[in-house]
């Protein structure tokens, strides 16, 4: 997205608590021949700490893309988004929202938090696999 070619594998942060979805995503990435460093967090509290670069995440580099499930337990996904945008390092990180519902409230968040893509969790395998190319596209590859 920045235009400059990367000479490393892109770092992708996935905040998702459903392992089924996580595995499917991995499958989608491999189907799309998309290689990346995938960090998965299944806890909202941890996610919040990460984007705030607190504790053990203090030195962690921000990812090139964040995929966020808004229905994460413990916290409201939007809280995480807000924290991201509040934190200078994470403010520019492109975010794709990955959600099972598409309430207008959540859609409105797209505007507010500059979300690049709103991906509704598909229930069809074909559709799901397409997410791989979507992510590739988002990372400019």
């Amino acid at each position: 997205m920045t235009g400059e070619p990367r000479n490393r594998k892109p770092r992708v942060l996935l905040i998702e608590d459903n392992p089924g979805d996580v595995d499917l995503l991995r499958l989608a990435f491999s189907n799309a021949r998309f290689e990346c460093e995938l960090t998965v967090l299944d806890d909202g509290g941890e996610a919040l700490a990460l984007v705030r670069q607190e504790g053990k995440y203090a030195t962690l580099q921000p990812p090139d893309l964040a995929i966020l499930d808004l229905n994460i337990p413990k916290n409201d996904g939007l809280e995480i988004l807000e924290a991201m945008r509040a934190n200078g390092m994470y403010a520019e990180v492109p975010v794709a929202v990955f959600s099972s519902s598409s309430s207008p409230r959540e859609r409105a968040a797209m505007e507010r938090f500059r979300i690049r893509r709103f991906i509704t969790k598909p229930s069809d395998l074909e559709e799901f696999m397409k997410i791989g190319s979507i992510v590739k596209e988002l990372l400019g590859e």
């Binding site: 459903n18 099972s100 309430s103 409230r105 229930s123 069809d124 799901f128």
Partner: protein
């Protein structure tokens, strides 16, 4: 011409004023006298003078002749010339000649400066006048013998000169006398004329001003004086008579005026009287009927005066309707009696009847004789109505079921109706004069305070009070207290109307309790509904996730291990997938259904239904193309709604029409009409139709009429109904098997109006 001039002259003369006339007369007389005398003097004088002159000259001639006898006899011319020369003294002698007997001239004399020949002595005449001179011839005699002739030529100029002189003098005298006469006459004629003209002025003035007190001035004691005196006497007489006349006139006018005033006063009085007044003469004919009488009898004055009273005024008894004796005959019969009658009914000219009171009295003249009768009457209908009304009101009070109690200003009971008797158990006799404390609870008598406020003019609203009956029972009452006014608007008391409200009070509190219960159950219900909806929402929402997993991984299984799986396994998985798919559909529909309950974050906003239909057609694009369907619509309005609801509504209706098609390509049309304040939408198709017995069932959630042959969960129409009901409308179907279906739904007019605040919260 002459005659006319004369007449006009006479006329002119007649018109001259008196003084002028006098002057003219005097002048004329004087002039005539003067002229006459002048002329006669002139003539007389001239004649006289001539005679004198003749005589004189004759004498001179004789003397000269005598004197010249000597000269002649002695033939002495010298002496003759001397003798003739004495004629020098008479200047007018021009020539004188002495002739001898033979006619020759002895001596001549000529006046100095003249030389004229001797006159011819042949002329024998003694005197011969020729023009301006006179010739005398005298014979000169001696002893009676003529010895010669003397001729004298005399210049008559003297005569003529004298005549001229005379004439001029006379003329001069004439003129100066005339002038003098003029002056004198103008002065002196005034003596006569002035008194006369004064008199004329006076009379003119009097006749103009009619001022008979003026008197003419007396200037002289002659006939004019007498005239003036008699004139003045006459004036005096006229003046006196005039004054007398004037006085008499004034008196008469005054009398007339008085009479008129009196008449007007009486007339006004009679007209202003509020009662009807009719007066008749002694024969009973109407003489006067005032306005009120005319009105009551419904007859104009013209039809009353002169008519017999009995013809226009007929009375009957109120109750037995028999005629009443005519007032006239009554009065004539009993003239000392003033009769009054009540309970009589008058029949007016047009037949209307009215109750009247009347009284009749005779009109007496100075001698006590009866001149007529005066009848006074009035319409008593108003009074009777008032009496009736008050009786009516009294009976209303008496018959009222409420207690009506009257108070005076001191709080003492003045009236107590039967309603009060029944309510409180005390009878009117007991309560009249008592105070209000009898029916009040101990220490809770609010009436004295209320009465005080009433007396101050305050308004008392209806209030709830408590009373105690004679038996001791306590009751709730609704009390209204109002002031009682007299005719002048002053407050003279109060009236209390009390109604037993014990039952009502009890009912009211029961009602309040029930209301409270209802309120509570409503709240419980609402909460329970909320919970259910939330539950349904959450359930369907959360159930989706696991389902999704099952679906995906089942698919994955099939995809990844096609070879390894046996056919049966594939069939099993197929069924799993099918089941999950079905479950997903059901859950999705259930979710959609519960969402119609309305999420607070989606407020209604203006939604163009045309765009909704477009969107639906997009969503159903595949199906429309596949079936070759044609979906048309009337122009649809903009409604203030939640757009997803209407997307669901139309999508379900159109989707159904596509699903339940007949053999033909589906033709679906959406129409709109307005009926009163409602919008009526219709979605008509040419599908397979629905048998009437299922027209209601199809709207039941999950109720289907078809099996697996046609996909669907059966929630579509339930969703449609829920949407329509949510916005306050109704939905139903008109259909027959094989004749297509028309789904009709109505909505209240929730169209978007520019500028209007459309905040509808429908249930």
């Amino acid at each position: 011409m002459n005659g006319r001039t004369r007449i006009s002259e006479i006329g002119r003369f007649r018109r001259l004023p008196l003084q002028r006339k006098l002057m003219v007369v005097i002048m004329a007389t004087t002039a005539a006298a003067l002229v006459l005398s002048g002329i006669s003097i002139l003539i007389f004088d001239s004649v006289l003078f001539r005679g004198y002159l003749e005589r004189d000259l004759s004498t001179l001639a004789d003397i000269t002749a005598d004197n010249s006898t000597a000269a002649l006899s002695f033939e002495d011319p010298h002496a003759a010339s001397e003798t003739l020369g004495a004629l020098r003294a008479r200047t007018h002698v021009v020539t004188a000649c002495i002739y001898r007997r033979n006619g020759s001239v002895l001596a001549t004399y000529h006046r100095a400066g003249t030389s004229s020949a001797c006159p011819d002595n042949e002329v024998i005449q003694t005197i011969h006048i020729t023009g301006a001179d006179m010739t005398l011839v005298r014979p000169i005699m001696l002893n009676n013998r003529r010895i010669g002739t003397l001729t004298m030529l005399y210049d008559l100029r003297e005569l003529y000169d004298r005549l001229r002189l005379y004439g001029a003098t006379v003329l001069f005298l004439l003129l100066s006398s005339s002038l003098l006469a003029l002056m004198l006459s103008s002065r002196l004629s005034a003596i006569i004329a002035t008194p006369i003209s004064q008199l004329v002025q006076t009379t003119t003035a009097i006749s103009e001003t009619k001022d008979y007190s003026v008197r003419a001035a007396k200037f002289s004691a002659d006939e004019l004086g007498v005239l003036v005196d008699t004139f003045n006497d006459m004036l005096a007489g006229i003046q006196t008579r005039d004054n007398e006349l004037r006085e008499a006139l004034l008196t008469r006018e005054q009398a007339l005026e008085d009479a008129q005033n009196a008449r007007d006063f009486l007339r006004t009085t009679l007209t202003s009287i509020g009662d009807a007044v009719i007066s008749t003469d002694v024969d009973g004919c109407v003489v006067f009927a005032n306005r009120v009488a005319q009105g009551l009898l419904r007859l104009p004055e013209s039809e009353l005066t002169g008519r017999r009273l009995d013809d226009v005024f007929s009375l009957i008894h109120e109750f037995d309707r028999k005629p009443v004796e005519s007032p006239l005959s009554k009065v004539l019969r009993e003239p000392d009696h003033v009769t009054s009658l009540t309970d009589t009914v008058l029949i007016a000219g047009d037949g209307t009847e009215m109750p009247i009171d009347n009284s009749v009295a005779p009109i007496r003249g100075d001698g006590g004789s009866i001149h007529g009768m005066v009848l006074v009457f009035r319409d008593t209908s108003a009074r009777r109505r008032a009496i009736e009304t008050s009786r009516l009101l009294a009976s209303i009070v008496e018959s009222s079921g409420d207690a009506i109690i009257g108070y005076d200003l001191n709080g003492r009971i003045t009236s107590w109706n039967s309603g009060a008797e029944n309510m409180f158990g005390y009878c009117a006799v007991e309560m009249t004069g008592s105070s209000t404390s009898a029916i009040a609870l101990a220490g809770q008598d609010e009436m004295p305070g209320v009465l005080q406020r009433i007396c101050r003019g305050e308004r008392i609203d209806q209030y709830q009070g408590v009373r105690r009956t004679k038996a001791g029972k306590v009751m709730d009452v609704s009390v209204t207290v109002s002031p009682i006014y007299d005719a002048l608007g002053r407050i003279v008391g109060a009236s209390q109307i009390a109604r037993d409200t014990t039952e009502q009070v009890r009912a009211a509190s029961r009602l309040a309790e029930l209301n409270a219960d209802l309120q509570r159950s409503n709240e419980r219900l609402a909460r329970s509904n909320e919970d259910l909806e939330r539950f349904a929402f959450i359930a369907s929402h959360d159930l989706q996730e696991p389902l999704r997993m099952i679906t995906l991984y089942s698919q994955l299984l099939v995809k990844q291990y096609p070879a390894e799986l046996a056919d049966q396994a594939e069939a099993c998985i197929s069924n799993i997938v099918g089941g999950t798919k079905r479950m997903r559909e059901l859950l999705a529909d259930l979710l959609a259904f519960t969402e119609i309950g309305g999420r607070p974050e989606d407020p209604p906003k203006p939604v163009d239904l045309n765009l909704v239909v477009q969107k639906v057609k997009e969503n159903l694009k595949a199906s429309i193309e596949e079936t070759g369907a044609e979906v048309t619509a009337d122009p649809l309005p903009v409604l203030v709604v939640n757009d997803s609801h209407f997307v669901s509504l139309f999508q379900n209706l159109i989707g159904n029409a596509l699903k339940y098609r007949s053999g033909n390509a589906p033709r679906i049309h959406i129409s709109l009409s307005e009926t009163g304040a409602q919008l009526r939408f219709a979605v008509a198709d040419n599908g397979s139709g629905i048998a009437p017995q299922y027209h209601d069932k199809i709207f039941v959630a999950f109720k289907r009429l078809h099996g697996k042959s046609i996909p669907g969960t059966g929630i579509g129409l339930a969703i449609c109904q829920r949407v329509v009901q949510r916005y306050g409308g109704r939905i139903w179907v008109e259909s027959q098997v094989g004749q297509g279906s028309t789904f009709i739904f109505t909505l209240p007019d929730i169209r978007y109006a520019e500028g209007a605040v459309n905040d509808r919260r429908t249930s």
